[in-house]
């Protein structure tokens, strides 16, 4: 591991001022905020991340879960994944979020990992994690060996000719379906970003994964008021029963009246280069009867633009069945 300067900023302003000196907030950042460490320290050991300065923000007071005046909830960036998943209001009103978190990683990692860190979780693509290999995300312009190499777990939606890396987060899939808002404090002040706009598609710049600029600190996320009577489910399919990343997953938030779907929010995980909200599936469900035919049509719509790689054609059908099964399960009770 490279040497670095370890600093514990006294407050948020000091953290932001120090981080603002970084040339980038994306891959290759020379200043990094350190939360739970579950991604950053792993990647520092691999020399994929080589910050010259590490800002330990674990003791900043950003660890609260609070009700908002509109009936929603405000979740501090330093709230640990386990505390969020086990919070009474989250379990009652945002069940899909609790389920998604509890199906990710392990109990130890959930005790460490933060909400802000989970938003910035890096891909598990083996080429990104191995500095002896080319990778456009790690070293722009060096190439993408995954396209002709090991790509079984990689993306079938949102990929480009430069990058096919999957976003590995479960929590973010639920946040996409719940239409969260990301609150960012930067050198120029506060701003909010709709969850769907926070992550970027790889395109020609796969090293840019989010809208964050140097000095930008995610302070919290907010969730809109819960949808009365909504049915929620996170279904995750993977190579082993637990402690494994998704091959395909689905976050479903549905409202049904007299057998008809009146509102649908759908997001998919394990298959996209970012947490994959599917307006196509939502449109195919809204106003329709809650039947197997409708569910299958929604799944077809969600995967219509899918482009498989050499080893992962199976993920198209897997993702369709994942969403269909999630919809069937959530409407059955």
């Amino acid at each position: 591991m490279h040497t670095f300067e370890f600093i514990r900023p006294a407050d948020q302003a000091a953290a932001i001022a120090s981080a603002a000196q970084s040339k980038t907030a994306q891959q290759g950042a020379d200043v990094r905020f350190l939360g739970g460490g579950t991604t950053l320290i792993d990647l520092m050991k691999l020399n994929v991340e080589t910050p010259a300065r590490v800002l330990d923000i674990n003791r900043l007071p950003l660890d609260k879960i609070e009700a908002t005046s509109d009936g929603g909830v405000k979740i501090g960036a330093m709230v640990r994944n386990s505390d969020l998943a086990n919070h009474a209001k989250v379990q009652k009103d945002y069940l899909v979020l609790s389920q998604a978190i509890l199906q990710g990683a392990s109990a130890q990692i959930r005790n460490m990992a933060t909400v802000g860190g989970n938003l910035l979780q890096r891909t598990r693509c083996v080429y990104f994690r191995d500095t002896s290999m080319a990778c456009n995300k790690r070293e722009p312009g060096s190439g993408c060996p995954a396209i002709t190499g090991h790509n079984r777990t990689l993306a079938i939606l949102g990929a480009s000719q430069n990058c096919i890396a999957t976003n590995p987060s479960d929590m973010c899939v639920a946040l996409a379906a719940l239409e969260a808002t990301v609150h960012i404090q930067g050198p120029k002040g506060l701003r909010t970003v709709a969850f769907g706009d926070f992550h970027l598609l790889p395109g020609d710049t796969p090293h840019r994964e989010t809208v964050l600029e140097p000095g930008d600190l995610i302070t919290h996320i907010t969730l809109p008021p819960p949808i009365a009577g909504s049915r929620q489910l996170y279904l995750k399919l993977r190579d082993r029963a637990s402690y494994e990343f998704a091959l395909a997953s689905a976050a479903v938030v549905l409202t049904i009246a007299s057998g008809n779907i009146t509102r649908a929010r759908i997001a998919l995980g394990g298959i996209g280069t970012k947490p994959w909200r599917s307006p196509e599936a939502e449109a195919a469900l809204t106003g329709k009867a809650a039947t197997d035919d409708t569910f299958r049509q929604a799944a077809e719509a969600a995967l219509r633009g899918a482009k498989p790689q050499s080893e992962n054609k199976f993920k198209i059908e897997l993702a369709k069945r994942c969403l269909t099964h999630a919809l069937r399960t959530v409407t059955a009770s």
Partner: protein
């Protein structure tokens, strides 16, 4: 080469001096991050470490005892426990957060000590397997693992037990499936899983 002189105007060491300097720096670094492996000489290791460039002072409360250390910020909590404080009960498996062998408690919660820097925990309370019980007075979970033969090679066992003890205070359903799910972060290559679950369930039922 003259054009590449990084420090114009400063006297450059000759090759032999450079090697000697580098050699002694490396030796000091080794002492700092990896002090003598005897608990009785921890104080000596602390003193030696203070000479190392970039080392920072921290205090960890480990198993109820304060340890004032000077440590390279790159040192993980795992390496600090094993090499600096000489508590080798915590094991290094994958060193990348994929196996759970290094599980310890920080402020009463289980975490992976390989994905933490020791400096992050200045002033915090660490519990390792050594702080749980002794061969003469075992923690009920240690006793249950012993009774149920819940290990084979033993390498993952301290991590398994630290996870299992933490699980007792976490939300967990009553059945074996719930225990298996919450223990999935601790991998056992010998496959002692069935006996591990039985040991944990016995302790939960008696609690």
């Amino acid at each position: 080469m003259e054009n590449d002189d990084p420090l114009p105007g400063l006297e450059q060491p000759n090759r032999r001096e450079f090697l000697l300097t580098a050699g002694s720096t490396v030796a000091a670094g080794v002492i700092a991050a990896y002090g003598p492996a005897h608990a009785s000489t921890v104080a000596a290791a602390d003193a030696a470490a203070s000479a190392v460039e970039g080392a920072v002072p921290i205090t960890l409360r480990i198993n109820g005892q304060d340890h004032s250390l000077r440590i390279d910020p790159r040192t993980t909590l795992l390496d600090c426990l094993r090499e600096t404080v000489a508590l080798t009960g915590t094991k290094k498996g994958c060193d990348h957060g994929q196996c759970g062998a290094c599980t310890v408690h920080v402020n009463g919660r289980r975490v992976l000590s390989c994905l933490n820097f020791a400096v992050m925990h200045d002033g915090e309370e660490i519990t390792t397997i050594e702080g749980l019980g002794t061969p003469e007075a075992m923690h009920p979970m240690q006793e249950a693992f012993f009774t149920h033969d819940a290990y084979q090679c033993g390498y993952c066992t301290s991590g398994q037990i630290m996870s299992a003890v933490a699980l007792l205070k976490e939300p967990c359903g009553p059945d074996d499936a719930a225990v298996k799910e919450l223990m999935s972060g601790n991998i056992c290559r010998c496959g002692a899983y069935a006996n591990i679950v039985a040991a944990i369930q016995q302790v939960r039922k008696r609690a």
